[in-house]
Symmetry: C2
Subunit: 189 residues, 2 copies
DNA sequence: GTCTATATTGTGATAGAC
DNA sequence: GTCTATCACAATATAGAC
């Protein structure tokens, strides 16, 4: 479901299409998800949230310098978007834009997922030496630039927006003070 | 139509709802827009593109320093989003996310609108003293952060993402070299 | 050109046989 | 619990009277 959602969005993805893709009849879906389409989408969003949250340390731990790590992460995202035919990378972003003012329950689910990303990102960046306030601001800036970059990249069929956004955020992060030395590899202490 | 699109998105906005809102019957719409819903949406996107492109100099000319001007523009956008009950501010962003992989013709229209924004933004920022390459990169970064900030702000019902994104881009711009003195008010030369 | 009524298709959701 | 057939409704789009 998350696969379909991130490419087609909420309204364009039907339960019957999901059933065909998954090889299960529509009745079974309604048996397991009594809330119907909304509940299926909510589950997909929550699952995506839990998966994507693990990417953060995976991408950034390998770079001693936070700023270069962030720019590299955006470059990786840009590569992925290009190699998958400019399909969206984040169902949460696609769905949020579509339903934020129309489906209150789903909006709350999406908000919860994003809030968990913000919390986790803030914690991680603080462990890399940023102040708590800076860590939270950077997390929001990264998520904004990333989701917006995905949007523009899909529309323009170009990696340029994501690369430009990555360089901007990276340069911003490089100006922030860090408490630990820049070469710190032990962000767990 | 642009009004409805930016709040509800493409799929959730029906031609009959547009007819009710506009006070005109559905038949008239199909008489003037023979391409149906797609053509109406395309016209709305193009019109929005032409209107929003005028906001750029309006917002930034009043600040002698480019970086503070950009941060102020994001703050203004954040205020607007909050005062309108977290409705989206940009139909182009909402629609692009929804149809980029599903409606090729509309995707091209949206891409054209965004491309015109990039061209105009690049020209303007170059006239404010940035190199051509920097001007283009900053324009893409601003648009990415702005669209992503709108998305997160709507989802979280908070101005925080937009403000954080604005500060990030502003700080980035402040690090770039400018050819003219920072207090230049004549960006037309 | 403007508007009404309708054709047609596809949707989410359900009832009920296995 | 799994699957088939179907209901009820809303969507886009059109035909045709004024």
């Amino acid at each position: 479901m998350a696969e379909l959602l991130r490419v087609q969005g909420y309204a364009a993805t039907g339960i019957q299409q999901l059933a065909r893709t998954a090889g299960a009849p529509t009745g079974s879906i309604y048996h397991h998800f009594k809330g119907g389409k909304r509940e299926v989408v909510a589950a997909a969003l929550r699952q995506t949230g839990a998966v994507y949250i693990q990417l953060l340390p995976l991408l950034l731990d390998q770079h001693a310098d936070l700023a270069t790590g962030i720019e590299a992460a955006f470059a990786t995202a840009a590569d992925d978007v290009g190699h998958t035919g400019w399909a969206n990378m984040c169902p949460v972003g696609t769905v949020t834009g579509e339903i934020a003012d129309v489906e209150p329950e789903l909006r709350e689910v999406a908000a919860g997922v994003i809030a968990s990303w913000v919390d986790e990102g803030t914690r991680y960046l603080a462990s890399r030496g940023l102040s708590d306030a800076d860590a939270r601001a950077v997390t929001y800036a990264v998520l904004s630039a990333l989701e917006g970059g995905f949007l523009l990249a899909r529309g323009q069929r170009s990696a340029e927006p994501l690369l430009a956004a990555g360089r901007a955020i990276s340069t911003y992060v490089a100006t922030l003070p860090v408490t630990a030395p820049a070469s710190a590899e032990n962000q767990s202490t």
